[in-house]
């Protein structure tokens, strides 16, 4: 067991996770803003007689704001994300406005999953999901890992957990 000072995670995610988040975020934002502008707006214009150009401006502003957030968020999130596996503790640190530092003891883990969505697969990325027993907040995710890294990390966790003798 390392000393208390070394309990700060240092490992970064794969840099291409920014691209992955951008693509994923762009897709959802496009769908959302598209729906709002091309479906929601005509409906409102037709059925609500108080609609005016002010609302048009507000809606357009909201759409562009959302788009801007989608573009800005991934690099910031990437810059903040750190994780580390210390043999008996899995550490992570992330968040832009709200910064969270999590520590999960390996002995408390119930199972470990590797999740790869279609876009993630395109980028050769994987997300590690760790479950603990408990009602609230019992799963922990580490996104943006290289596939081999993720598998290795999972195997290390399983190994650390697997012998079962405490």
């Amino acid at each position: 067991m390392s000393g208390e000072a070394s309990l700060r995670p240092e490992q970064r995610l794969q840099r291409r996770v920014i691209a992955y988040w951008l693509v994923g975020g762009a897709l959802t934002t496009t769908v959302l803003t598209g729906l709002a502008w091309f479906v929601g707006r005509p409906l409102l214009v037709e059925h609500w007689d108080k609609w005016s150009s002010t609302f048009d401006l507000v809606l357009a502003g909201a759409c562009f704001g959302l788009l801007a957030i989608t573009l800005i968020e991934p690099p910031l999130a990437y810059a903040r994300w750190r994780y580390a596996f210390l043999g008996d503790l899995l550490l992570m640190r992330y968040g832009i406005l709200f910064v969270e530092e999590r520590a999960v003891p390996v002995r408390r883990m119930q199972h470990v999953d590797l999740v790869r969505g279609p876009i993630e697969r395109l980028f050769g990325l994987a997300t590690l999901v760790v479950f603990t027993a408990g009602n609230e907040g019992s799963s922990f995710r580490v996104p943006g890992l290289g596939v081999t890294d993720a598998q290795e990390l999972r195997d290390r966790i399983v190994e650390a957990r697997g012998d079962g003798r405490l």
Partner: protein, 536 residues
């Protein structure tokens, strides 16, 4: 090595998310074939209850049918009655439970057969509940709880009291044996021979841990201020709305009552309102007192070996076992009125039970002491968390910057709301400026009540505004630690620390200094990682 994690740790499931309880019961091949320890059927007297139940269900169409001379309706009632009774009889005839050294099996169903198998080491609790009718017949509903978070996994409605007690005793002994076996098994398999099957452990003597007096229960009811506080705040809100001129706009519905009330002179009106309020409050207090007396009548906690047992209830009696090793967190709670009187409630969260802070689950399953003097409550704690008595806690305070963190949003809110309301309602809006000192006062109170201490094996936390709650968490049970900082906390160098355990809601330590939070989180995480107790 305690039981539950013996399975979880030897086979970590690497595929998709399934419930913790879905882990195969024994990944380790058992050296001994499971032997049947107890088995049986439901008690026949349950048929009588089912008969009454069926009669009750069929009563409405039959009575109605006779009343309107419709024989179709009566026929429908009779068919309903026969169907209900037939179903109950079939269920009674087919239901069979078997307790082996490995698991509890409940088989039932005539057309659709169902067999439920619950691994022994997954059984969190065995509770009994009997309504007044069942008690008259000497019956009890057996509730099997697992740690899956769903609460009751299976219920046997009903066994005779003796059968139910026997089942619990055998189960507890079998579990104690299973623990002994897993420890001997490693040595035995090394020598290449199966471990000897042990005799069922002798039941340890039972110690009385806590007993509630009727006086304490009455006090619990009298200080149950939830209802009256709600009423008072509702009244205050309506008065405020009236002052600000909202009431007229909302009116319409209440206008009639209003006109009627306005015919009285103002003094009488005020007296009338106060009297009404007092009556409602008194009613609330009386119902709360009666409710508490009925629910917690004769509350007793006993300790046998490592298992706590609670028995209570007047009409519906409840009996609930709670293995001490499954306790995730113990809280000593004081609402403001109870704090004034030096009274407190002791509760224990166990894996599987779920409640949020300050809220009772139905039946008071997690209550260890419904109401007791604070020193008694504190003396009770080592019985729930062994080892707590050896701890010496060095209490620490949160950062005083907490007051600032609460005051800033309050001030901002006041400064924004006042001009907005001023344009609508005039100078009355200046009252809103009071929000700023109020929030600062709130921050001060929160800070004054906030304290924490990390001992060798336990984390304690004290928090509250006017009331006070002290929580004790064994560090070995910690599932995860999270340090969280919001935008304002980042500016002030503060952080929240949240400690997750397998039962109940997470314990939150707000507004520590960042350094304190990190130090504490590291210490807790390292202790949890190296802790020997692996069972949750």
């Amino acid at each position: 090595m305690p039981k539950s994690c013996a399975t979880a740790s030897s086979r970590l499931v690497v595929t998709d998310a399934s419930e913790p309880s879905a882990v195969p019961p024994s990944a380790v091949p058992k050296a001994v074939a499971p032997t049947v320890l107890a088995s049986g059927h439901l008690h026949p007297a349950i048929l009588l209850l089912r008969l009454l139940d069926a009669l009750r269900k069929a009563a409405v169409p039959m009575v109605l049918g006779v009343a309107v001379q419709s024989w179709w309706l009566v026929g429908f009632g009779i068919v309903l009655f026969l169907l209900n009774l037939g179903y109950a009889t079939a269920r009674y005839l087919t239901l069979e439970y078997t307790l082996t050294t490995d698991e509890l099996r409940v088989r039932e169903g005539l057309l659709e057969r169902q067999e439920r198998r619950i691994p022994l080491d997954r059984i969190q609790d065995l509770g009994f509940e009997s309504t007044i009718l069942r008690r008259a017949l000497g019956l009890a509903v057996v509730l099997v709880e697992t740690a899956s978070g769903r609460g009751v996994e299976a219920s046997l409605d009903s066994l005779s009291r003796a059968d139910a007690e026997h089942l619990r005793d055998v189960l507890l002994a079998a579990r104690a044996n299973a623990v002994a076996n897993t420890t001997t098994q490693t040595q035995a398999t090394a020598e290449g021979e199966p471990p000897p099957l042990q005799e069922p452990a002798m039941l340890a003597p039972e110690w009385l841990v806590h007993q509630s007096t009727t006086g304490e229960l009455v006090l619990r009811g009298l200080t149950d201020m939830r209802l009256s506080a709600f009423l008072v705040s509702g009244f205050a809100a309506s008065q405020l709305a009236d002052q600000l001129g909202f009431a007229q706009r909302v009116a319409g519905l209440g206008r009639g009552a209003r006109d009627w009330l306005l015919q009285f002179p103002p003094l009488t009106l005020v007296a009338l309102l106060i009297a009404l309020l007092l009556v409602v409050m008194a009613l609330g207090v009386v119902t709360a007192t009666l409710g508490n007396l009925v629910t917690f009548h004769g509350f007793r906690v006993t300790l046998r070996g490592d298992v706590l047992q609670r028995r209570y209830g007047l009409l519906t009696t409840r009996q609930k076992t709670l293995p001490r090793t499954r306790i995730q967190r113990v809280t000593v709670e004081q609402t403001w009125s109870r704090r004034l009187l030096g009274l407190s409630v002791v509760k224990a969260d166990s894996a599987g039970g779920s409640r949020s802070d300050g809220e009772d689950t139905t039946g008071g399953w997690e209550v260890i002491a419904p109401m007791t003097k604070l020193p008694t409550a504190q003396a009770l704690l080592p019985a729930l968390l062994p080892g707590l008595e050896q701890e010496s806690f060095e209490w620490q305070r949160g950062s005083a910057r907490l007051i600032l963190r609460t005051a800033v949003p309050g001030t901002v809110l006041a400064l924004v709301l006042t001009p907005v309301l001023w344009s609508q309602a005039g100078p009355v809006a200046a009252f809103l400026l009071l929000l700023a000192p109020l929030w600062a006062l709130l921050g001060l109170l929160v800070w004054r009540n906030l304290g924490f201490a990390l001992g060798r094996d336990f984390l304690t936390l004290q928090h509250g505004v006017i009331g006070r709650t002290v929580a004790y968490v064994p560090t070995a049970k910690v599932q995860a630690v999270v340090v969280r900082r919001g935008p304002l906390s980042l500016l002030l160098g503060l952080a929240d620390l949240t400690v997750y355990v397998a039962g109940g809601s997470p314990t939150r330590l707000p507004d520590l200094t960042l350094a304190d939070a990190r130090r504490l989180a590291n210490a807790i995480a390292q202790r949890a990682a190296t802790a020997a107790a692996a069972a949750w």
